[in-house]
Amino acid sequence: MIVKRGVAVSPGVAIGPAMVMGTEAVRIRRRFIRADTADAELARFRSALENVCQEIVTNEQLATEQIGKQYGAIFSAHLQLARDPRLHSEVDELVRKRHYSPEFAASQVLRKYAHQLQSLGNSYLAERATDLFDLERRILRNLLNEQKEDLAHLTEDVIVLARNLTPSETAVLDRKHVLGFATEIGGATSHTAILAGALELPAIVGVGNFLTEISGGTTVILDGNHGELLIDPDEATISRYRDAAKKARAVAARILKVSQRTAETKDQVRVHVHGNIEFPEEADHCIERGADGIGLYRTEFLYLAGAHERTEQDHFDAYRSVIERVGDRPVVIRTLDLGADKVLAVADEPVERCTNPELGLRSIRLSLDNLQLFKTQLRAILRAATQGRVSVMFPLISSLLELRQAKMILEDVKEDLTEEGAEFNPSVPIGIMVEVPSAALMAAEFAREVDFFSIGTNDLIQYTLAADRSDPAVAKYYNSADPAVLRLIRMVVRAASESGLPVTVCGQMSSDPKFVPLLVGMGLRNLSTTPLAVPEVKEVIRSLTIAQAEQIAASALELDLASNVEGFLRGELLRVCPDLAE
């Protein structure tokens, strides 16, 4: 058995025979033409290119339908490349002036640009060279009238091993028979990797040279969770992986089946599990997976998706769509949580590029600075709230003054609506996101002026530990399990319980099964998670007693390092709910 390691880009485990893809490129047989045939050759080139465009359009539709619009966009970009005026004019010139065959000319032009991309010194752009090779291969295949490679028409299950797969090769992989793939080159951000994730195919890229060490038909285990490729494993290893894969599938199926049941601890304490959504359609995914409501409805897409400034009616329609989908379950609508750079540009005002957007004019600060924008949203929320159990939540509150200003504007809006005789709900509960350390420290004071708290752990961690969560250079400083973060959460939960205020955790932390016992032990009875995590989180809750959870929380809070807390929580999850522990 040989073990190869690569970059895990799409999770899951696959076991099966290897299909080793040839590394040889399409061969160009004829490099030069007679001068008097240039026009005919160029006509042949244009007609081949037209076929290529057709193929790409088909792929775009396939990808859009099967896995979503953003993946279709990759092929839409390929289409622009195929129509690129630079490609056309340079091929034209090579064919006319240097008498290259169109095959040779197209290959030369695309390879020149691919090579330039690779030498720009930007790894993300360098990976785009694959997209150019993809286009080259398509054009050549059409010019040479070659049949498509047969990855799309397989008759038995295989694991594809290749030097590299282009995005279009990945998109047309026969999902019935391709169990997964591993490639020698490629990185985590390549289009191929992104597509693999969306197709839910286990995949590893960047394994390094290994194709010469394996022949087709050899059994391999592809471990997309750990980025390992096991070539020719022994029987014991195979059965170990088979058992693990079978168990994981059974667990997922079992917890999905019971996900509609209420989440009660073994000693009958109810914990509400809500879903976080951004698009109205996601409300359906939450309900299908057993969510008790929508704990966080992010409204940013209303500001980003369209080119025009959204009207009150646009907001109202989106909110009503969510309310209709969840019926009598609660929905917490969060007001705009974006930076000025993203929103104001739409209104065509020049926006100064701030030096530190995370500490700049964003979120509630932007709303308070742009009353028109804020009022439009609040009017729509109040009006939609007549149709369901709606609450409004202000993000990034850092001082009582901000909260009071926001509430005052909400009152203004109510007065306006009353004067206009519009139908609205005057008693919508008001909550704040606790995500700035100052708000956590002042939680007792805030508790007197709001109806609920929702702890946004993602920002709370970032601001407490001064680590930008989107910057890989400081990723190691951003740690959910940090004792300082846990203490702030405990402070907020205590302040809320002393005032009898409901409190939720809606950050990424509550979607991670190992944090669930800790959060329940700290007193949380409401969690809001990604739609996908709802069944797992409910399962952990059902496996706990409150006494056990409180013991876990007490022990975790005694530890002084994030790594110790994390290790401890992982061990406890293994005891409480071994099925979900890794």
Partner: protein, 101 residues
């Protein structure tokens, strides 16, 4: 002639998908439209050209158009940058780009 400065705020820079959005946006414009980064000039119709700008996050670019409807075409490009190329976004929960929690 219309000229305007835009800033790349895409996490991975002006790569293939956003570049193709620009090419798409200017397709029907009959005049000259280029995007400049210092002394590198790219034809906005050509994805291949735009990629050579190597415009990473934070780069300032100059959009320049001349011809019938040049103001509209510059507006359209500026809008794409302002919206951070809506195609960049992924609709998954926890999408950091749109605020998160």
């Amino acid at each position: 002639m219309i000229r305007r400065t835009v800033t790349v705020t895409l996490e991975n820079g002006l790569h293939m998908v956003p570049a193709s959005e620009i090419a798409k946006a200017v397709r029907d414009f009959s005049g000259r439209v280029v995007i400049r980064r210092e002394d590198i000039v790219a034809d906005a119709r050509s994805v291949l050209d735009l990629l050579q700008l190597r415009a990473e996050c934070g780069t300032n670019l100059e959009v320049e158009a001349e011809g019938d409807g040049d103001a509209l075409v510059v507006d359209a490009i500026a809008q794409l940058f302002a919206l951070n190329f809506a195609v960049e976004r992924r609709p998954a929960a926890g999408s950091a780009g749109t605020g998160g929690t």
